[in-house]
């Protein structure tokens, strides 16, 4: 091996990457080569200097980084929480929101009026339209809901059935 190869081995020795067999050969060469000894000395002293060289971290960078990341995200959340429940969810103007509320109220009132006119038949009952002057025969089954015929009276009853006549 030439000096360059021994110097590569020497660098590997500092990095902990030289096999024991090669170490013996390397030390044998270093004993007789000032140039390679000098190189090995440089490598170790560069490492020693590097391990002792520390740089203080500028504290102002902490505020800059965290403001741009974590604090910024948290501020967005807090800003949203500070607003009203509906305002956080719907980005609409106050007049438009008022008009929508009024419309809902009017529609609700109208629906309520309509619902009050519903018939009051018992739940599950059936309404059979009665034609004036014509009999309506209803055959009752046990499982059928109760039947009510408007504007008529019972004319005949047979078993479970009832005949209505207007």
């Amino acid at each position: 091996m030439n000096c360059e190869e021994y110097q590569k081995l020497a660098a590997g020795l500092v990095d902990g990457e030289v096999a024991p067999d090669n170490q013996e050969e390397l030390f044998g060469h270093l004993g007789g080569c000032a140039g390679c000894r000098s190189f090995l000395g440089s490598v170790t002293r560069v490492r020693d200097a590097a391990r002792r060289d520390t740089r203080p971290f500028p504290r102002f960078l902490d505020e800059n980084v965290l403001s741009a990341t974590v604090y910024s995200a948290r501020n967005r959340v807090m800003h949203r929480r500070g607003r009203g429940f509906w305002a956080r969810r719907f980005e609409i103007s106050a007049p438009l929101a008022s008009a929508a509320v009024i419309a809902v109220i009017v529609i609700s009132l109208a629906a309520g009026v309509l619902l009050m006119r519903r018939d009051t038949r018992p739940e599950g009952s059936m309404a059979i339209p009665a034609v004036q002057g014509q009999p309506v025969t209803v055959i009752m089954m046990y499982s059928m809901p109760p039947v009510e015929v408007h504007g008529s009276r019972v004319a005949q009853v047979s078993g479970e059935g009832r005949m209505y006549r207007n």
């Binding site: 110097q7 590569k8 660098a11 590997g12 990095d15 990457e17 000098s38 190189f39 000395g41 440089s42 490598v43 002293r45 560069v46 490492r47 200097a49 590097a50 391990r51 002792r52 060289d53 520390t54 740089r55 971290f57 500028p58 960078l61 902490d62 800059n64 980084v65 965290l66 741009a68 990341t69 974590v70 995200a73 948290r74």
Partner: protein, 183 residues
């Protein structure tokens, strides 16, 4: 169960802001130190730190392997430093063979006479591709494999560049080192 880096990274990826703060506190100094040694300027290094951690915050979804967070972070730092060096060189419009340290502001060119300062200055005079491997190996104690993952080359090339960097440092420092050691 001790809290490991990987655990912290997973918490961060799950949306835990305090995990990001913990990772920042753990890695801010290595990122800053590497940037200062690559750029030779503390202000620019500060810009690199802010840019890198903002990217970590915004691009957390891109990290597929939490166990490689440190390498991912240092790779981003390294790329940003190289971009800054290229931009600096383009703006100065100097030939490629001019050492980068010649471009640093005068305030950072104070010649320190102690061994630590001389080594630091000598490292700053290396070409970026040699400087980065020396900084990652000697100042940050990364293995050949980790250095290869950060700079995107195989271990053999890392070993080759490291040897070249050490040869150049030896040439720059040998007379002074010999004088100091009395050899």
């Amino acid at each position: 169960m001790p809290v490991t880096d990987e655990h912290c990274v997973r918490e961060f990826l799950d949306g835990d802001d305090s995990a990001f703060v913990a990772l920042y506190q753990h890695y801010k100094s290595p990122v800053f130190d590497f940037s200062v040694r690559m750029l030779g300027d503390t202000d620019e290094a500060g810009d690199i730190v802010q840019g890198v951690f903002l990217k970590v915050w915004e691009r957390r979804g891109q990290l597929r392997r939490p166990e490689r967070f440190a390498q991912w972070l240092m790779a981003m730092t390294r790329n940003d430093c190289l971009s800054a060096l290229r931009k600096r060189k383009n703006e100065a419009d100097l030939p490629d063979d001019i050492p980068d340290l010649a471009l640093t502001p005068a305030a950072d060119q104070v010649q320190r006479r102690d061994e630590i300062g001389m080594v630091c200055d000598a490292v700053g005079r290396l070409k970026p591709e040699l400087r980065e491997v020396i900084v990652l190996r000697e100042y940050h104690e990364y293995s050949y494999r980790e250095i290869g993952a950060i700079i995107g080359v195989d271990e053999d090339l890392v070993r080759s560049r490291l040897f070249s960097a050490r040869r150049k440092l030896h040439e720059m420092l040998k007379d002074v080192m010999t004088e100091r050691s009395g050899l």
